[in-house]
Subunit: 385 residues, 2 copies
């Protein structure tokens, strides 16, 4: 539990756009909210609020891409923001990247595909999860994964072993799942008890079922041009998927990844490189993290330091993907704490063009990508398109 | 063959330091060369020319490290530079990183180790090279590798196959070498004829003998913290070795790698990251390569574009490792061409603190690292320390 807060003493009003509502049509931003709001009042460089574009209905928001204007899933102003409030609060103009909605959309797509697969070839994707010990957080994650599997139609297999199990016992279960044709993905919940060799155990998972994407052969293929990994690690894959689904250009953009873990930072950097971003990796030994980060068009923060990235680290208009989920003390919360990201959200909202909230940003995407990897694995094994 | 030149019309005189002479003692910079040369005349921020340091002989050059002054292999002024010339030409002050001498030193160390190994356990390291077709450059490379092996005491095995060989024939030889206990390293000379699948062939080389370090499992381990690759690709390994042997700090430095090839750029970036540099990767899709590069303390250029990196791309005092070897037309040369790097050498000499020449910089290091990898492989297989 950390003590950290980047809120200003007088909290600013936020002018939030909630987006990616799956419904059709183009709901307008109510004209009374637009009145008196100059275009320049928005720090989204690619967003233009216009009252009279030649070819689009009055009062809508569009994202401009290289080919000119194009329709985008519309922004809607949160109902709680009144006209006068909006006029006051234009300084906080970042688009909130709603990971929860996007993940829901992806899970819906996965459900459809799994149903089609079952109908056409009678195969149900299966995911095996191995949990050793009874850490509270791990137990929660595993339960959530199981629930998520059920919700999309993936069959889940669960093995819970006591804390004092031997490495051999874990390896025996992995071997069994490797040979089981009904299991298409195997996930070993980390961290493992300290008496086990994590590397030995992860290496034992068949590369064909390595839905976590942590096998060095998968990482090697991810790093190499012209090679394709069988699986991409779920959290970084989720980060890139958020950018894609928000139509945020990556190619040629300056991207900074903060953190270089095997699980998030490093594979995120490799993925951004594959997407043709100019990638910089900032880490604990970087002498001038603020200076490097402040040049980025896209920031992926994955360090586990609450509110580390302050407003001054952010280039106006940058897009921020915040992977951190850090508990900080909060006497006003019934639980005594609240979750914050690696990025100071309040400050980011004023400067960035788009930002993921914590919770509800990257978090829901990780499980969605795990389901997606499991489905891909089943499709590949059964040669189902 | 490219037409490219970055020389100014009036070539400036260069004041070169040749370093890493393996002899002992501290030869002085002749005092008449120092007279009238202000310390600030040198652009090497870490080099201080001093006439009266308290604890060192008069007139010598030292490199300062974090712990203060320390002895370093001494610089000697090239005999051809006279006092008056030196006084004129202080604007071109980069240290020339003499890859040829450093590679020679490494080959000497390898020779000693191989001799010790033979004496103590009777094992001679063996390197197998497979060449398909008769490309002139490939034939030259293979001949040079063979000669280098002989010079250090590595036994070389060579297979030359005709251009129209089948993939199966190549795979058969690889399989034979994989099983041969006298072969500790296998190298398939690239490029292969277009009818062959390079990926299939490279993947067939046993990871234990992959002295080129191109196997995705090796690259994956290189990328991952806490994992160790069995082999590191030779050219990027040579680049880092040059920095180490010149006592150039990498930790915490801003490093830019230009180019992201599987063979040089990408593994060089991963190596720099392992050395705790803050790493940025610039490539063909980067919109502002000059801007990004000009922030680097260390530049590794590996793009194959003659003289692409101009003086304006270089931060004063940066260290430059130039991997490019590009032929450019030169009517004054008997061969009609000369070799230049990816960096405009003349301009770099005026701004950088240290720079590798082309030829004679990274080139000789690649083969030295191949020999080093072969020795390491034999040591590992025979558990010889």
């Amino acid at each position: 539990m950390a003590f950290a807060d980047c809120s200003t003493s007088a909290p600013t009003r936020t002018f939030l756009f909630s987006r990616l509502r799956p419904r059709r049509g183009l709901p307008s931003i109510p004209p009374h909210l637009l009145r008196g709001l100059p275009v320049a009042g928005f720090r989204l460089p690619s967003l233009r609020i216009t009252n009279s574009p030649s070819s689009f209905p009055k009062g809508n928001a569009f994202l401009r891409n290289k080919q000119g204007f194009r329709h985008f899933r519309p922004f809607t102003v949160l109902a709680s923001v009144s006209a006068s409030e909006a006029a006051i609060s234009t300084e906080a103009s970042a688009m909130v990247i709603d990971g929860k909605s996007i993940a829901k959309e992806i899970r819906h797509e996965i459900t459809t595909e799994i149903s089609r697969m079952k109908d056409e070839i009678g195969v149900i994707p299966g995911l095996a999860v191995i949990l050793v010990g009874d850490r509270k957080d791990s137990t929660t994650y595993v339960r959530n994964k199981k629930k998520a599997c059920e919700s999309v139609g993936i069959k889940s297999y669960e093995v819970c072993l006591p804390e004092d199990s031997t490495e051999e016992e874990v390896l025996k279960f992995i071997s069994g799942f490797n040979d089981d044709p009904e299991v298409h993905g195997i996930l070993v919940q980390l961290p493992l008890p300290s008496h086990m060799n994590e590397q030995n155990i992860l290496n034992a998972v068949s590369i064909e079922k390595d839905v976590d994407g942590f096998h060095p052969l998968n990482i090697g293929r991810l790093a190499m041009r012209g090679r394709e990994p069988l699986f991409v690690p779920c959290t970084p894959k989720g980060c890139i998927e958020l950018l894609h689904r928000c139509n945020i250009d990556i190619k040629g953009k300056q991207a900074v990844v903060i953190g270089r873990s095997n699980i998030v930072g490093m594979p995120a950097a490799l993925l951004l490189l594959r997407e043709d971003a100019t990638v910089s990796i900032v880490h604990s030994r970087t002498k001038n993290p603020e200076e490097v980060t402040s040049q980025a068009d896209i920031i992926i923060a994955a360090v586990g330091q609450p509110n580390m990235v302050r407003g001054s680290w952010i280039k106006p208009g940058a897009v921020i993907i915040d992977v951190g989920i850090n508990p900080v003390e909060d006497a006003t919360s019934p639980r005594g704490y609240r979750l914050v990201g690696d990025v100071c959200y309040e400050e980011a909202c004023k400067i960035a063009s788009a930002v993921t909230p914590v919770p509800g940003g990257v978090g829901p995407m990780t499980i969605a990508m795990l389901l997606s990897n499991t489905l891909s694995s089943a499709k590949r094994m059964h040669n189902f398109q």
